[in-house]
Symmetry: C2
DNA sequence: TAGATACTTGACTATTTTAGTCAGGTTTAT
DNA sequence: ATAAACCTGACTAAAATAGTCAAGTATCTA
């Protein structure tokens, strides 16, 4: 059970963006250098974040990205959703042949996996970008 | 972020085992048929469960497996640990080059990933095999 | 208006992980 | 003896991951 780097990078990049987002947009190049993430990969990630209206792009020289909503209103769940990072415990939902159906004792653990998914998703729904930044500042002090 | 089938199957198989474990050991063949999991794959999984002393094997005809501890004392975390299903959010811990170190703004989200891991692991530490069986029986009634 | 900076898009690919299979054992009840 | 069941290690196809690469377009600044 692991988080993919796409989801992790997306969060890292947005925290970076939120912290350095004073007046000017932040370029991916800067984020790439600061966070050690390949520029090309960041571009893929930000393309998705833009489509989900989490960031706005500013083209041209001195361009970059800015947050499209307040940090408080961007939850982890929005970010993960944008980059297709999903919590999947089981195939049952998509593929009815595998998993549950047609077995004599049915899916004895079906309920467990639902609970687990909810447990994890709750965490993602509660945490906002603002929480992360605050948390980080507090730790420095 | 997804659960692998090895972890899922291990739990499914153990719930099955616990339910059908009256006096006699339960054969993998039966579990395989009831849960729709390949026998060869189950053997791999049970080999690991045995090494971690979660189950005991009974060889020979009429053999099979029995739980090595009370269902109450087998937590999900023990099961996942046995089959190498780990919660990993980040590489920092193993590979110091990637992730945190040497970056100018350090790992802004390091704390987040730790929190996430703990959140998930707590779930696994609290749930026992007994909980799963009880839960299942209640639902039938 | 030339050139640099930075966003935009889509195709491509090496590596790793997953989810098994397969083959050949050993043990023990009947 | 023999069949049922455990035991072990090697192997592999397919999928997912984690990117790279190439060829743009838009906009600011000198």
């Amino acid at each position: 059970m692991k988080l993919t780097s796409k989801g992790r990078y997306a969060v890292m990049a947005l925290v970076d963006l939120a912290r350095f987002n004073n007046i000017n947009p932040v370029s991916l190049r800067d984020i790439s250098l600061r966070q050690g993430i390949s520029l090309d990969y960041l571009e893929q990630i930000f393309s998705k974040l833009r489509k989900k209206e989490i960031v706005q792009s500013v083209r041209g020289t001195q361009g970059g990205y800015i947050l499209n909503r307040k940090a408080k209103e961007i939850k982890l769940t929005n970010i993960f959703d944008a980059v297709d990072e999903k919590v999947k415990t089981v195939q049952c939902k998509k593929d009815s042949k595998k998993g549950c159906n047609g077995r004599s004792t049915k899916c004895l653990t079906h309920n467990l996996w639902d609970e687990l998914e909810n447990h994890i998703n709750n965490f993602f729904e509660e945490k906002s970008l603002e929480d992360l930044i605050k948390d980080n500042i507090e730790r420095r002090v």
